[in-house]
């Protein structure tokens, strides 16, 4: 028998006891309990009598969580941020302060992380705020939180966040899709941007990148578009809103906000003025829509927009297949519509186009939408740097007809090509003409060429 065996046994059992007690102590004293006690103290201060105070203080300490199966997340932020939905906590210190201006976007339905970022499942500050290893989306800086509105509201105008609509507009008109894919459409010279908002790149990085790509990404093929600060901010917002996450049915129904400004957009887009008048301004095929929201209930109008035949069998009004919020937006616009506004809409409408002009218009829009403008310029001026190719620049398209026939140009668009090298032994130029035949129909290509040729005419005239 070893002489010191009983002592060793005693020492080890004592150590085991100490260790398990330490582990239990460690597990029983998480930081969120401290915050909850502080909050209860704060709440108890507002109570009138001792009994009510005691009742508040006796509230059990527990992890609070919001289950959001539709957003595929569980947010435990309210374990510490206990006053987010309590207006009496307006002036409380963080983390207990009331969240002003939430409107209908209450935490119980949306959680917190969908807008703010961070790690919803975590229950200590460092991990929850997400500035830890192995967590990709830390809290968004204050300046950029509003970009998250675009994660649900993917279309139309978002009141209070003009940056998103502006960013989307820039993306579609500056030729970004020439190099970048978004939701499956676009070129493959640059990275796919469908999940840019969920990537590890910080908002600051994105913004710098839009101002001067080479600063944060040396050697990038991305040309400097000389965006203004506002434009760079708008594009950054738009990028941050791109997560490509499956939002579930409920949250997908929030794509558009039923604002009257979006309703007006729809009113213009769907050409309602062709049949309807507002206060006597417009056509007389359908009824005048002035004051229609007073004549009929919202439900009636909604039903009419879903299925005109149901309300008035034989009605000439077509079905427009609008989603719930779009219908609400239209009704919201109709409630505020005036004859002056109808006049504005009418004057904004162009006179009827000839088929040739229509093709050129369509070509122009294709040229912007599919990203040709990204390299060739919105005015076909070219000039984007492309080392070791054709004098180091993407060529201008203004004198295309001097060297090519329409059919040759169609061939180049269809199949793409590498630019001729200045120096055969030099590096491969970063930019090249991609093949478009899988993305553009023959008609699309034809329209683009018509558009190019229309510009040629003007260029020759100006010589």
């Amino acid at each position: 028998m070893g002489r010191r065996l009983p002592q060793a046994f005693f020492a080890l059992s004592l150590l085991a006891l100490a260790l398990i007690v330490a582990a239990v102590w460690q597990a029983s004293t998480p930081s969120w309990k401290t915050y909850q006690r502080q909050f209860l103290q704060l709440e108890a201060q507002g109570e009138p009598n001792a009994a009510a105070k005691a009742a508040v203080l006796a509230t059990p300490l527990e992890i609070h969580q919001v289950l959001l199966p539709g957003l595929q997340r569980v947010d435990r932020c309210t374990t510490c941020h206990l006053g987010v939905d309590d207006p009496t906590m307006k002036n409380a210190p963080e983390p207990f302060r009331y969240h002003v201006g939430l409107g209908t976007n209450v935490p119980s339905k949306f959680g917190c992380t969908i807008c703010h970022g961070g790690q919803g499942l975590a229950t200590d500050q460092k991990n929850a705020h997400g500035n830890v290893d192995f967590w990709q989306t830390p809290l968004l800086a204050k300046d950029y939180i509003r970009a998250s509105c675009g994660r649900c509201h993917k279309e139309g105008d978002i009141p209070g966040v003009p940056e998103l609509a502006e960013g989307r507009h820039l993306f579609e008109t500056q030729g970004c899709r020439g190099c970048h894919k978004l939701d499956g459409v676009g070129g493959s010279i640059g990275p796919d941007l469908s999940e840019e908002g969920a990537s590890q790149r910080s908002p600051e990085w994105l913004e710098k990148h839009f101002l001067t790509p080479s600063v944060v990404s040396p050697g990038s093929a991305m040309p400097n578009f000389h965006f203004t600060r506002e434009q760079a901010r708008a594009l950054t917002y738009y990028m941050l809103s791109l997560t490509n996450q499956d939002m579930g049915t409920y949250y997908s129904s929030l794509r558009t906000i039923p604002s009257s400004s979006y309703g007006r957009e729809l009113f213009v887009e769907k050409n309602c003025i062709v049949c309807h008048a507002i206060g006597g301004v417009g056509a007389k095929v359908g009824p005048d829509l002035m004051g229609v929201t007073q004549r009929h209930s919202r439900e009636w109008l909604d039903e009419q927009l879903v299925n005109p035949q149901l309300v008035y069998p034989g009605s000439a009004m077509p079905e427009y297949d609008l989603d719930t919020n779009s219908r609400k937006a239209l009704v919201a616009y109709l409630a505020t519509a005036t004859s002056e506004d109808a006049q504005l809409i009418l004057s904004g409408k162009k006179s009827t186009l000839t088929p040739e002009d229509a093709a050129i218009e369509a070509g122009k829009s294709n040229f912007a939408r599919f990203g040709c403008a990204g390299c060739h310029g919105t005015e076909l001026q070219g000039g984007v740097p492309n080392p070791n190719a054709q004098g180091g620049q993407v060529p201008s398209l203004l004198h295309l007809s001097d060297d090519y026939t329409k059919d040759e140009v169609i061939e180049v668009i269809r199949n793409g090509r590498m630019p001729p090298l200045d120096n055969a032994s030099g590096p491969t130029p970063p930019l090249y003409m991609p093949s478009w035949k899988h993305l553009l129909s023959e008609e699309d290509i034809h329209e683009i060429v018509e558009f190019l040729w229309s510009k040629q005419q003007k260029a020759k005239d100006s010589w």
């Binding site: 002592q7 006891l17 239990v24 939905d85 309590d86 119980s108």
Partner: protein, 151 residues
């Protein structure tokens, strides 16, 4: 080492070991007790008082409750879970009673058993007005059928 010393060290060791084992078992029991639930919470908000029409009870499917809004007497919330074997009862507007589809239990408008195998009346839950102006139901707090919240 003599036998006595051996025994005393050993006994002391056994004592601390037993306490360590006892603490560990308590800790494991606590470990198995869930801290968070992946089910609808027991305390939840059900919207503003104005969302509820007078007279006809509103059935909330996920929460399994009936919300009654009486013009004169205010809000009351009844459980839709039959006290017999836990099926979900339906409220018939025709006779103002709750009917259980499983074994035919029928409950009166105040939740008391009219007939059928149900042993107890339906539960009524506490409903209060939260600080943000929403109604808040707490399923852990059972109240008498006469309980009303005036808003």
């Amino acid at each position: 080492m003599n036998r006595r010393a051996f025994l005393s060290w050993g006994t002391a060791g056994m004592v601390s070991l037993s306490s360590a084992v006892a603490v560990s078992m308590g800790a494991v029991a606590r470990f198995l007790m869930p801290s968070v639930f992946y089910e609808p919470p027991q305390t939840f908000k059900i919207g503003k008082p104005g969302d509820y029409a007078f007279g006809v009870p509103t059935f909330l499917v996920d929460e399994k409750i009936f919300v009654f809004h009486d013009r004169d007497r205010g809000f009351s919330v009844a459980s839709a879970v039959c006290t017999h074997l836990g099926c979900t009862v339906a409220h018939f507007q025709s006779d103002q009673k709750f009917h259980c589809p499983c074994h035919g239990s029928v409950f009166a408008a105040d939740g008391s058993v009219v007939h059928g195998p149900a042993p107890k009346p339906l539960n009524w839950f506490e409903v209060i007005l939260a600080r943000d102006g929403q109604l808040q139901v707490d399923k852990d707090k059972i109240v008498p059928a006469t309980y009303r919240l005036m808003v």
